[in-house]
């Protein structure tokens, strides 16, 4: 595949021009100190520096907060006709970091598993990913290196590696990426391997936070911690607000509801919106029974999903990709890295 080297300013200018073919999203400022994947316009202020994980991960652009599953209409003979929602428009997600790229890859696996989620897959097929490597930890909350997402490249169409003097190596990893790169017209790079090796040598080491045991040991460790006091310790301050689910790039649970049009009550639509296992009503079923009524049970479930259940079902070691969003945005300061640290310590203390 092809590669180029270009200066940061030229790359960002080029990203600003991509908007003419469909929506382009890039991390931009929200409020006082936050970032979000916002639509790029000609006048948008874009920069690679100062990145820290966005409020919502870029993958949420593949699963909107309100998504129509189908439209229905009841027919005079008391039957029902269904029609699929319109085909989603294509989009470019640019400035995606390795952690979030891995999350998208994992969601591709989840949504691709039989029978498959056609809406996600249609959006994904129309999405071009322009990812960027990190040579320094983005902040003190992240732990991507501990869960194997640092430097993740799979799934990107174009992958950017920071070089010295505000230049970037741009590698096309798919035919779509190669086309995009050819159209950009940057100087070709005949020897991307060397550039990449040199950049990786400059990467901080150790990188961010680590546990004393590898992530591959967590499933077994979790198996022996059903009754751990760690669970209740970490929910004392929990508000059951669901933030940790809703901001997580590998949380994908949703709730479904039907809505009809008052003007034409025989027509309506079924739509879904994100739900979260930390929310109190999540495990309530018909008849009012709730099989996970306590926050400690819900927290245990969330942690086991990330480090045990999903990996066992879909492959891959960890479905937590270490972005640190959940801990950073939890107003109670509950950090999944700290929960796992405590579980490890508690195991070592137990007889």
């Amino acid at each position: 595949m092809t590669a180029s080297v270009a200066g940061e300013a030229a790359i960002l200018d080029w990203i600003r021009t991509l908007g003419s073919r469909g929506p382009v999203f890039f991390p931009q400022k929200i409020g006082r100190q936050s970032l979000g994947f916002q639509p790029v316009r000609r006048e948008s202020v874009l920069e690679f520096a100062g990145y820290h994980p966005t409020l919502a991960p870029p993958g949420k652009r593949l699963a909107p907060a309100v998504e129509v599953l189908f439209q229905y209409r009841s027919t005079p003979d008391r039957g029902l006709e269904f029609s699929p929602p319109p085909q989603p428009p294509g989009q470019i997600l640019a400035g995606v970091r390795s952690c979030d790229l891995k999350a998208i890859h994992l969601m591709d696996r989840v949504n691709g598993a039989a029978p498959g989620d056609p809406l996600y897959l249609a959006r994904r097929a129309g999405t071009t990913l322009l990812a960027v490597d990190c040579l320094q930890p983005c902040d003190t909350a992240c732990f991507c290196a501990a869960v194997g997402s640092l430097g993740w490249r799979q799934g990107a169409d174009l992958f950017l590696t920071p070089l010295e003097e505000a230049h970037y190596l741009m590698e096309a990893l798919t035919p779509a990426g190669a086309t995009l790169l050819a159209e950009a017209g940057f100087d070709p790079c005949p020897d991307p391997e060397t550039h990449r090796r040199r950049a990786e040598a400059r990467r901080a080491n150790p990188f961010g936070r680590h546990w004393p045991v590898p992530v591959t040991e967590l499933p077994t460790l979790l198996d022996h911690q059903w009754q751990s006091p760690v669970w209740s310790r970490h929910v004392e301050r929990c508000f059951s607000c669901g933030t940790c689910n809703l901001v997580c790039p590998t949380c994908y649970c949703f709730d479904v509801r039907d809505d009809f049009d008052l003007a034409a009550p025989q027509e309506g639509q079924r739509q879904r919106s994100p739900d979260g296992c930390m929310l109190p009503g999540f495990a309530a079923v018909a008849g009012g029974h709730d099989f996970r009524p306590q926050p400690e049970g819900r927290q245990r479930h969330r942690v086991r999903r990330k480090f045990q259940y999903l990996g066992a079902r879909h492959g891959g070691d960890s479905f937590c990709i270490g972005c640190g969003r959940c801990g950073r945005q939890c107003t109670a300061g509950i950090d999944i890295f700290a929960i796992v640290t405590d579980l490890i310590q508690h195991r070592e203390m137990a007889p």
Binding site: I30, G31, R32, Q33, S34, G36, L55, A56, A65, E236, R237, C238, F239, S240, C241, G242, T243, L246, V247, D255, R257, D258, D259, F260, L262, A263, P265, S273, P274, G276, L279, P280, G281, Q329, T331, A332
Partner: protein
């Protein structure tokens, strides 16, 4: 036959009824589906049998409580509309002060003394506590907020007329902040009641750059101990915290332990 719908107002600003009238695009469609038999803001008529009664306002006087019981007896479904009906709202703050003290502040000592000694005013003393609707009669559904949210109103009406189970998950305001990708008030150096407050308002206040002051009321699962601790870590004094909880929520158990 179309369901017969009625609106009644008690002590409130009638902002919720106005919010209903403001559902302009769908209001005429709504009238195709239901028959409005009482609506103080729009018409005047007295119906004997009501399918869905919406109650706006808090209940402040004994005669209001009687009127409410009468409405309940005529109604199949009763909905508390807005923060006043659901939790007493700001006026419930009066419950923390002795009635005689209010009379003095408003009318002066001389008149305060007169209403205490003149038997013609004695009936006033029987009506001195601001109550929410559910403290007097059974409430079937609640539309929270100051004012109520038009979209929630429509969803409830649609569910009731189509026979579906209305859904109002006990989710906090935070859920909507995260789905709309709003920056959290705590990240702006402010504090917020959203974690302990019923959502459903699309977190409008946070979206406008403000914070949640809790107008939709306290969630059943609210972790108040943790919330109090968080606010105090963020520099709020005990008095500040009490005042924040009591702004909309005086009528609820919130802050009761710190009376007066």
């Amino acid at each position: 036959m179309k369901p017969r719908v009625a609106f009644f107002d008690f002590a409130g600003c009638e902002g919720c009824q106005l919010a209903v009238l403001n559902c302009e695009e769908v209001f005429l469609d709504l009238l195709e589906q239901v028959e409005i038999v009482e609506f103080r803001e729009a018409m005047s008529e007295t119906a004997h049998r009501i399918d869905i009664a919406f109650i706006e306002g808090s209940i402040n006087r004994e005669e209001d409580a009687q009127r409410l019981r009468d409405i309940r007896a005529r109604s199949r479904i009763l909905v508390a509309l807005g923060a006043c009906a659901n939790m007493g709202n700001v006026q419930a703050r009066a419950n923390f002060t002795a009635p005689a003290e209010h009379f003095k502040r408003i009318y002066g000592s001389a008149d305060r003394d007169r209403v205490q000694t003149d038997p013609r005013f004695w009936s006033l003393w029987a009506h001195t506590r601001v109550r929410a609707v559910h403290e007097i009669v059974a409430v079937d559904y609640r539309l929270r907020g100051c004012p109520m949210v038009a979209e929630e109103f429509l969803q409830l009406v649609k569910a009731l007329i189509s026979g579906a189970q209305p859904r109002q998950p006990a989710n906090p305001v935070c859920v909507e902040c995260r789905l709309h990708e709003f920056e959290c008030a705590f990240d702006r150096g402010d504090t917020c009641l959203g974690q302990i407050t019923w959502g459903g308002c699309a977190a409008v206040c946070i979206g406008q750059g403000y914070r949640c002051d809790g107008c939709r009321g306290l969630l059943p699962q609210a972790n108040l101990a943790a919330h109090r601790q968080l606010l105090s870590e963020r520099g709020l004094s005990d008095t500040d915290i009490r005042n924040r909880y009591r702004l909309f929520g005086s009528g609820e158990a919130l802050g009761e332990e710190q009376r007066p």
